[in-house]
Symmetry: C2
Subunit: 308 residues, 2 copies
């Protein structure tokens, strides 16, 4: 019974160490040095190796090393393989930090001040209270809930939207498709945090932008494929959107000659909002392995029909 990890050298080193410390009884191996393929029951990876069904015939559990599983072509996986998203506090903390930074940078005009610094202009902008600012989080899963809760602690007028109703203290929670337009009308800053599925692909488009208050700012920390870039550019040119902070793009890495890099209304970071932290990730994987062995429900188990 072997657990295989497929990742880069630095992360491989750290996972190995944490596995050796916390679960020395598990045969832990690094891709591609997997030993007897028939023994491999567990695989943790970001990208699927080719021909998984034939290479690893006895695979039971596929762990994503990231928060999403949209990078997996689930149709290529045998039906009996269970897929598990990474649910670990490091991912949540990173996302909360990044989005808080982005929302505060928007709220406190940081990018305008950086531009003024380049022209050596000392030009204060009147501070608005957080209570007078409307911020919305689209997607209230594990990450969205944590983000909304943290932002509420700064006193913003917080709104959240999810398919099924949530209750989050300090956040006005909207639910279901019919409530989406009302939610969007309440987002001077929109934090986008839905999983990438067939339903959400291209969802950040002209018709969604048109429902935001004029001059809104978009913060996309989900997937680049959610966003139609031509629609973004038109909304920026038109003034419907004042700016965008994008941690994800399509493709990644973003090519050097892409217009997003040089548009002064856009901030691009290279998909770093949230990264799995090896120590807490290994703890999470080991807890799920124990739950699996006892026949209990694993945390982050993916509904393969729903896609997340």
């Amino acid at each position: 019974m072997t657990f295989v990890l497929k990742t880069d050298a630095q992360r491989a080193f750290e996972w190995s160490r944490h596995f050796a410390e916390s679960a020395p009884e598990i045969a832990f191996r690094l891709w591609p040095d997997i030993g007897d393929p028939a023994q491999v029951r567990f695989l943790a990876t970001w990208s699927l190796p080719p021909d998984l069904a034939t290479t690893l015939p006895n695979l039971e559990l596929l762990f994503s090393t990231g928060a999403g599983v949209d990078q997996f072509d689930l149709s290529r996986l045998p039906g009996h393989v269970q897929v598990v998203r990474m649910v670990e506090p490091g991912i949540v903390d990173g996302m909360v930090e990044y989005v808080t930074m982005a929302v505060l940078a928007w709220h406190r005009d940081l990018f305008a001040y950086l531009a003024r610094q380049r022209t050596a202009s000392w030009e204060p902008i009147r501070v608005q209270t957080a209570a007078s600012r409307k911020v919305g989080v689209l997607g209230l899963g594990m990450l969205g809930q944590a983000v909304a809760r943290k932002l509420a602690g700064f006193g913003f007028e917080m709104h959240g939207w999810s398919r099924n109703r949530r209750e989050i203290p300090g956040v006005r929670c909207h639910a279901g498709a019919a409530a989406l337009p009302g939610f969007l009308a309440s987002c001077q800053a929109l934090v986008f945090l839905l999983p990438l599925t067939e339903q959400t692909l291209g969802m950040l488009n002209a018709s969604l932008f048109a429902r935001l208050p004029r001059g809104a700012t978009l913060i996309n920390v989900a997937r680049g494929q959610h966003l139609l870039l031509d629609d973004l550019r038109a909304a920026l040119n038109d003034g419907q959107l004042a700016g965008a902070i994008l941690d994800v793009t399509d493709p990644e890495p973003l090519p050097p000659d892409h217009w997003l890099w040089s548009d002064r209304r856009v901030v691009v970071t290279p998909h770093i909002a949230s990264m799995t932290q090896p120590e807490t990730a290994v703890r999470s994987v080991l807890q799920n392995l124990r739950r699996h062995a006892r026949g209990e429900a694993m945390v982050g188990l993916v509904d393969r029909t729903r896609g997340y």
Copy 2:
């Protein structure tokens, strides 16, 4: 009995409105249209009018419209005039927002990413956990305490220093001059929030920088006069400091040809971290007037011998 406010037109308009709503019984006037000078018992201002002792012979209370009173030459004030700092939630909230933004921008490499965006380079930097980062707040008055408490909520290893011992949950509080070197050694990012007095003038100097961990970042949100700019430049050139985020400078406004504007290791904002919010400021002033009338202690009363 007249209350006089000396400020700019926009703020004057807002204070007038809030005074009229909340305390119509008070004769509220705007400088320089003060009516009978002998009637003026209360003055709220950022800068002292000339010859205050003779112009306003019956002045009892001088309210600063900002968090500090270092801009007042207290030696010019008759001894019986009581001086009151502005203590109101708007100032605290603004400072907490700004410092949180600055610390997260440091922690999450925002300025490095903005530089990489200018060269179109997609180059992720490994995310460190907040728990692995040491942040210190020098000065644990009303603002410093609020800042330290908020940052502790992100999981940073938080340190604080004050002259007299404080207790703040989640913050290792150091107290007194002897504890200062140990505190400074624990500050990968140093948030400076002491009042400006004869004792703290020029305190951000080479010998203080030398006690920080190598490569530390300075966040000055107190006063420009705290910081010796030649020492800052030397510490940046030497690598002892990696960067500085300065909301205050000396002088203000910073002249267009000043080196701080164009140094890529420095972020300058035009003294906007925290601004008095008229609505809550008026509420705070009115509460103090009531306390004063009842012979109770006012919130923010300055110890004129101590200077803050």
